[in-house]
């Protein structure tokens, strides 16, 4: 089981309220991603759940038990750190077995569980090496192995892929997702990368300045961002946000349209000058200077032959435009 509930959880460092008060429900078996810009409090929130930081106020309960004042080891959670945090003086085998040793498990049971974890994570061929002799990806696998053997109620991941190169990051992302599929254990994953959040999560929690801006499935957040912050944060490239007369025309303070929801068409209502075109092969991203509308990003599918200085016409797809009021919230 791994149901985690936060009730009015608050964290202050001296005078500063890093997390002013958060309520959140995480269901058993869910893959929840905390996402937000640097300094939004996502790692602090994870550390509060882990027990590595004391909560200033509020209640954290795990499977119905109040765990607010429990030490980390008693919460039944396992954590994977950004820096891997492997024990450099121990072999891979000893690293993975460490939590079992601390739990006082018999040597045979330790060996059985370590071998099982090593098999799942393809660690068997370097089980007797020290962390210093492993690559970044291998180290991260060891860190995950160390978390798995404990059979925790939930896994906590603190930006685990940030130190890996882009290609490896994609692989590890898939591996972690597959691991979640097979273990079906609750996972809480912190990242600042919204692509990671979108691809891995069952539920995304968008944080800003210690507050939850929105909680929902990746597509909920993509289709109906609660406010301008979520609208700007979720989706890549970012949503175009337009203010002024064009927004007023639609009865809003700001209108938002995603780059993939703008079509380049000769009879489009909007026009602009191409500033930059990024050719990715499958898509082309155009930065267009559209006068009063500002600089907009457009996504054209496939290879499109536009160059710097070309005048183009384009139009938003019907029903895809989002309207935000003066309070920044999405209007119906």
């Amino acid at each position: 089981m791994g149901k985690i509930t936060l009730k009015s959880v608050k964290k202050s460092f001296g005078e500063v309220d890093v997390i002013p008060g958060i309520d959140l429900n995480i269901e058993d078996g869910e893959f929840v991603v905390f996402v937000g810009p640097s300094g939004c409090g996502k790692s602090t929130l994870l550390r509060l759940i882990a027990g590595l930081e004391d909560t200033t106020a509020g209640i954290i309960s795990i499977d119905g038990t109040d765990a607010t004042d429990l030490p980390p080891a008693k919460r039944g959670l396992a954590m994977v750190f950004q820096s891997y945090a492997l024990y450099p003086h121990m072999s891979v085998r000893k690293n993975i077995a460490f939590p079992l040793k601390m739990a006082g498990m018999s040597a045979e049971e330790q060996a059985k569980r370590v071998d099982h974890a090593a098999k799942i994570l393809n660690l068997s061929s370097y089980i007797d090496r020290k962390p210093g002799q492993l690559s970044g990806g291998q180290r991260q696998r060891v860190a995950i192995g160390r978390a798995i053997v404990r059979e925790p109620a939930a896994f906590l991941f603190d930006e685990p892929l940030s130190n890996l190169d882009a290609a490896l990051r994609v692989n590890m992302r898939q591996e972690i997702s597959e691991l979640h599929q097979s273990l079906k254990t609750t996972m809480i994953y912190v990242t600042h990368d919204q692509v990671e959040a979108m691809t891995m999560a069952d539920k995304i929690v968008v944080l800003n300045a210690g507050r939850i801006e929105q909680v929902g499935s990746p597509l909920d957040l993509y289709r109906a961002p609660a406010n301008l912050f979520v609208a700007g944060f979720i989706g890549s490239p970012k949503m175009n946000l337009i203010e002024g007369a064009e927004a007023a025309k639609h009865g809003a303070k700001t209108i938002g349209i995603r780059p993939e929801h703008i079509d380049v068409t000769p009879d489009g209502a909007w026009q602009g000058v191409v500033g930059l075109s990024e050719h990715l092969g499958s898509d082309t991203f155009l930065k267009v200077n559209a006068g009063d509308l500002g600089t907009l990003t457009l996504r054209a599918s496939g290879e499109v032959n536009f160059h710097h200085g070309d005048m183009i016409r384009f139009a938003p797809q019907a029903g895809k435009m989002m309207r935000f009021g003066t309070d920044g919230k999405l209007m119906a």
Binding site: A50, L52, P71, P72, A73, L77, A78, M79, F81, Q82, S83, A85, L86, Y87, P88, H89, F98, P99, M102, A103, R146, R150
Partner: protein, 276 residues
């Protein structure tokens, strides 16, 4: 760009380095050479570095006249004992200062260090009286305690510096893995800090071995270490340089050999954290 070193420059540097090293080592060398001279050539004027009549007589006499093994054993017990006891106290203290510092941790560290700047003579009488009245006078245990407390600031400071270099996340990982505070220090922190702990240990053994003020003041015969052994050769009958040198050589030889074999470790430990 790296500065190119011309052969001429290299020779000059080498010469300068050797000169400084020789200058520092010269008193030790002089003592060792004198220990093999006769009393007459030891006090010859002008002083001679080398002599024609080398002798081992001084060693034979020093060995015969005093119980060298007892002094040696006392030195070992006092220096190793005070260092080990110091480590047992300092490791948890340095852990707390490095990983859960309070608002006054820095001040506390400075205060601890400042006690090292106090002139030892200022507390001579109280220390002497305390030792006499508590039955610690002329006991190895008393000296172990005294030297441990005296070197504790250095031990804590050195360990604190090493511990600061260990990423806190590794200790947090240990906590998540279910390690108690004791296990965290025993299985994770201490093995990771072994180079630092080893050099702290070596340096403190050397400091304690060479300590003379308190070891001579607070002992008479039973617990007297090698520093008192040397002092016993500056007898009221006059100074016997050759014998005194032989005694000194016998006293410093063990620590010199230890230092020689562990110099790599010592230098590494002392410069730890200086260059990242």
């Amino acid at each position: 760009m790296a500065r190119s070193v011309t052969p001429r420059r290299k020779i000059l540097f080498t010469l300068a380095a050797w000169s400084v090293a020789l200058l520092i080592f010269f008193p030790v060398l002089w003592t060792i050479l004198t220990s093999f001279k006769t009393e007459a050539s030891a006090v010859a004027s002008p002083p001679q570095l080398f002599t024609a009549d080398w002798t081992l007589e001084n060693y034979a006499e020093v060995w015969g006249r005093s119980d060298y093994p007892r002094f040696f054993w006392n030195s070992v017990v006092i220096s190793v004992g005070s260092t080990l006891l110091g480590l047992i106290v300092a490791i948890p203290a340095a852990w707390a200062m490095a990983f859960v510092p309070g608002r006054r941790t820095k001040d506390l560290l400075m205060w601890m260090l400042s006690t090292k700047m106090m002139p030892a003579a200022a507390v001579l009488i109280p220390m002497y009286l305390i030792f006499q009245r508590t039955g610690l006078f002329d006991t190895r245990f008393g000296l172990v305690m005294a030297l441990m407390l005296m070197n504790l600031p250095v031990i804590v400071w050195m360990l604190y510096t090493y511990f600061k270099e260990i990423p806190g996340e590794i200790l947090e990982a240990a906590r998540m893995d279910g390690a108690s505070l004791r296990n965290e220090i025993l299985y994770v922190l201490t093995p990771m800090a072994v180079p630092g702990i080893a050099s702290t240990m070596l340096l403190n053994i050397i400091l304690a071995w060479n300590e003379a003020f308190w070891t001579i003041t607070l002992t008479t015969t039973k617990a007297a270490p090698l520093s008192a052994f040397i002092a016993s050769f500056s007898a009221p009958q006059g100074l016997f340089y050759a014998k005194l040198s032989a005694a000194s050589t016998m006293a410093i030889a063990p620590i010199l050999i230890l230092g020689w074999f562990s110099q790599k470790q010592l230098v590494r430990g002392l410069t730890f954290g200086a260059v990242k």
